[in-house]
């Protein structure tokens, strides 16, 4: 091999090494298409109208997926506190952290791998979306230097807006009344069935005077196999509340969907709630939207 060949080889290795942080990573979430652009808003709350097609993650982000994110971006150090100790010690928490030769390792707690991650702040979720763009947590979808980050022009992986979330959960182009919107995100206007998964097509994990599922009370993402929205998303009603992108009031972000500890009112289309974005709560997780669909 000539000297030039050696140099070209080294050049190629350096080039790949430099580009690797921006390369697509392994984590691939499952999305369902949400079409029917230009659909009407729900007459009950004037929400749900979306003028473009997009894709909604079929399930909430799990502990296994969030642990993969942590291992990718918070192994050396964790300057943004993406890991919260309650994930190991708190109620419904499902990720442990250990340290080996100065590096952190994150691992889902046994039995919690497919349960939704909790104790994530809005900022943690935004950084997860940024990371999905190519490895950098600080921009991509959201400019994290902004005091109130907004969706960037070239964003592809983002947190759902209230309208995107409501459309994916409740809108059914085949439904004739109420402008096509169901009352609950499992294609029903009656209270969903509070039963353990896999359940029926109108079942969800919420509290109806009794727990839907036995301990640990949260259910694996997508475990209600036939309980889904008209577009095919699972668990938008119940299991854990979900962070949304939409700013509520001066300084809060919307959360939606109810959870395993709340009665059915929180799963209804007319329910609205919000939290301070820095809160890391035992019953709030998230899911991702993919926009820019051709």
């Amino acid at each position: 091999m000539t000297r030039v060949s050696w140099l070209m080889g080294i050049n190629a290795i350096v080039f790949v090494a430099l580009l690797s942080p921006f390369a697509a990573h392994a984590l691939e979430l499952s999305y369902v298409p949400v079409g029917n652009p230009g659909n009407p808003a729900c007459p009950q709350n004037n929400r749900g109208a979306v003028a473009y097609a997009y894709e909604m993650a079929a399930t909430e982000v799990t502990n296994a997926q969030y642990a993969e994110f942590l291992n990718a971006v918070a192994a050396q150090e964790d300057p943004y506190a993406l890991y919260d100790i309650n994930m190991a010690t708190g109620l419904f928490g499902g990720i442990e952290r250990s340290q080996d030769q100065g590096r952190f390792q994150y691992k889902p707690i046994a039995g919690y791998e497919q349960l939704p991650v909790v104790y994530v702040s809005w900022h943690d979720c935004a950084r997860f979306c940024n990371w999905l763009h190519g490895g950098n947590t600080e921009d991509g979808a959201y400019d994290m230097t902004s005091p109130q980050p907004a969706r960037g022009k070239n964003a592809r992986y983002v947190l759902p807006t209230v309208d995107e979330w409501i459309k994916a959960a409740y809108y059914d182009p085949q439904k004739k009344d109420n402008a096509g919107y169901w009352q609950y995100p499992v294609r029903t206007d009656a209270k969903p069935k509070c039963v353990a998964p896999p359940g029926t097509s109108d079942a969800a994990n919420y509290f109806d005077g009794r727990w839907a599922a036995p301990e640990p009370f949260l259910t694996p993402a997508g475990a209600y196999t036939s309980g889904k929205s008209p577009y095919g998303t699972h668990d938008q009603g119940g299991n854990v509340m979900e962070w949304l992108e939409t700013v509520a009031g001066a300084d809060r972000r919307a959360i939606a969907g109810g959870d395993a500890t709340k009665f059915d009112y929180a799963l209804r289309i007319d329910y609205a709630d919000a939290e301070l974005p820095g809160q890391q709560l035992y019953i709030v997780g998230f899911r991702v939207v993919r926009v820019g669909v051709k």
């Binding site: 100790i85 309650n86 010690t89 708190g90 109620l91 509290f207 005077g209 009794r210 727990w211 036995p214 301990e215 009370f217 500890t261 009665f263 009112y265 890391q280 035992y282």
Partner: protein, 432 residues
């Protein structure tokens, strides 16, 4: 509290004066505590007989006395843990000038601790072991998050036992109606009452959690002669936040562990006088129990020596939620106070009352009861009925409905006056 058999021995051990002198208030918020005002009436020495009135005195005779004595003996010897009450004196205190609650014009007693699984088991074994038509036991107490009671036996009769390590933790999955029935049982050994019998009139209580009842048919408060009851919001607030020894116009703390600053979010072993079991970036207690044992924050108490009014579990108050105009489908709600182990410091703050559907039985909702104190002559001090003040003429006129009626009456009167004037003018013209 220790129930021995269903009948005739039931009762409540009196520990009201177990801690008769409230501990000296700590310095907080830069304010210097002062001794109790000399002019104030001393707190009456309150205490209770062992048994509800119908089992005391009367025509009992020697046999009755024998059983009564045996009961007292067994009660003392077998009692695992008494349900303690503390006196709340300083009758006639002013309300909190900031949040408006806390004025109580009479002396009463309030549970020193939240009702525990052990306490509630006593109640269940007395009132729900042969049958349980009112759902006093909730299966979540066995299988649900934070539930601490096992039900022994299929069907009825059955027995209820606290789970190991859960006896002294607060009972949860109790609704407002369960507590009202517990108050009735403590009052006179029955869960059901009327407007003349028992502590609460249960006749209009919903038959199932889903039944919607017209709030106008439900009791607004305890019966006039109730011996036990769910504390009203003012009573609960006073017991939690009031301190007569404080300087200044406002004699209330913001948190029920005698402090104006956020309590310490630490486990009981830390021994802090200003700690509580709540969530602030982490759980005060955490796995595996999350709920702390009643009174385990031994140094952290209110002025009146109540424990855990801040944090651990939310507690029902008697009132419909003040200024409640309906919540979520106009559902009337009773107040919930004190926050919980899973909720932030906001729940512990004096400003916060959460709404609760009285039928809802949830994993972080429990409660404590209050009871009638006795005066120096041994007579019960009953809470007077709230005085409904007659409206002044100005208030009547400012009332929206009254204004509407006055407007209609004015318009009608004007119309008829116009007719009359027209008729009179026409007649006069003809006459001329």
């Amino acid at each position: 509290m220790r129930l021995l058999t269903q009948e005739p021995f039931y009762g409540l051990e009196c520990n009201a004066m177990a801690n008769p002198t409230p501990p000296p208030p700590p310095q907080a918020g830069g304010k210097e505590p002062i001794p109790q005002a000399g002019g104030k009436e001393p707190i009456p020495q309150v205490g209770h007989e062992f048994f509800p009135p119908r089992l005391r005195g009367g025509r009992g005779g020697k046999l009755h006395s024998f059983f009564l004595g045996l009961g007292v003996f067994l009660l003392f010897t077998l009692s695992a843990q008494a349900m303690d009450f503390v006196p709340v004196g300083d009758a006639g205190n002013e309300p909190d000038p900031v949040y408006g609650y806390g004025a109580v014009p009479y002396v009463f007693e309030i549970g020193k601790y939240e009702i525990t699984n052990e306490d509630y088991c006593e109640f269940l074994n007395a009132a729900a072991s042969a049958e349980d038509p009112y759902g006093l036991y909730n299966p979540n107490m066995t299988t649900g998050l934070f539930g601490g009671i096992d039900r022994i036996g299929e069907g009825f009769p059955c027995e209820y036992r606290p789970k190991p390590e859960w006896a002294r933790r607060p009972v949860v999955y109790v609704g407002w109606y369960d507590l009202a029935r517990m108050a009735n049982w403590l009052h006179y050994g029955k869960t059901e009452g009327t407007d003349t019998e028992g502590a609460y009139d249960t006749r209009a209580f919903p038959k199932s959690p889903d039944e919607l009842v017209d709030p106008g048919r439900l009791p607004q408060r305890r019966n006039a002669k109730a011996l036990f009851w769910i504390p009203s919001e003012d009573e609960w607030y006073k017991a939690a936040y009031f301190d007569p020894a404080l300087y200044g116009e406002r004699r209330y703390y913001d948190y029920p562990v005698r402090t104006w600053t956020t309590p310490e979010n630490v486990p009981p072993e830390a021994g802090s006088p200003h700690a509580a079991n709540f969530f602030l970036n982490q759980f005060s207690l955490g796995k595996p129990y999350f709920l702390s044992e009643a009174g385990s924050y031994t140094l952290a108490s209110s002025y009146y020596a109540t424990h855990d009014q801040g944090g651990n579990v939310w507690e029902w108050v008697e009132n419909w939620r003040r200024n409640d105009t309906g919540w979520r489908d106009a559902e009337p709600t009773r107040g919930l106070r004190g926050g919980s182990c899973t909720y932030s410091f906001v729940g512990l703050h004096a400003s916060n009352t959460d709404p609760g559907n009285p039928s809802h039985e949830m994993f972080v909702i429990g409660g404590r009861l209050a009871r009638a104190a006795k005066d120096e002559r041994g007579q019960y001090i009953f809470a007077p009925e709230p005085v409904v003040q007659e409206k002044t003429l100005l208030q009547e006129v400012s009332d929206k409905a009254t204004r509407k009626r006055l407007l209609v009456a004015g318009l009608a009167g004007g119309f008829f006056a116009g007719l009359l004037v027209g008729w009179w003018a026409k007649r006069k013209t003809r006459t001329a």
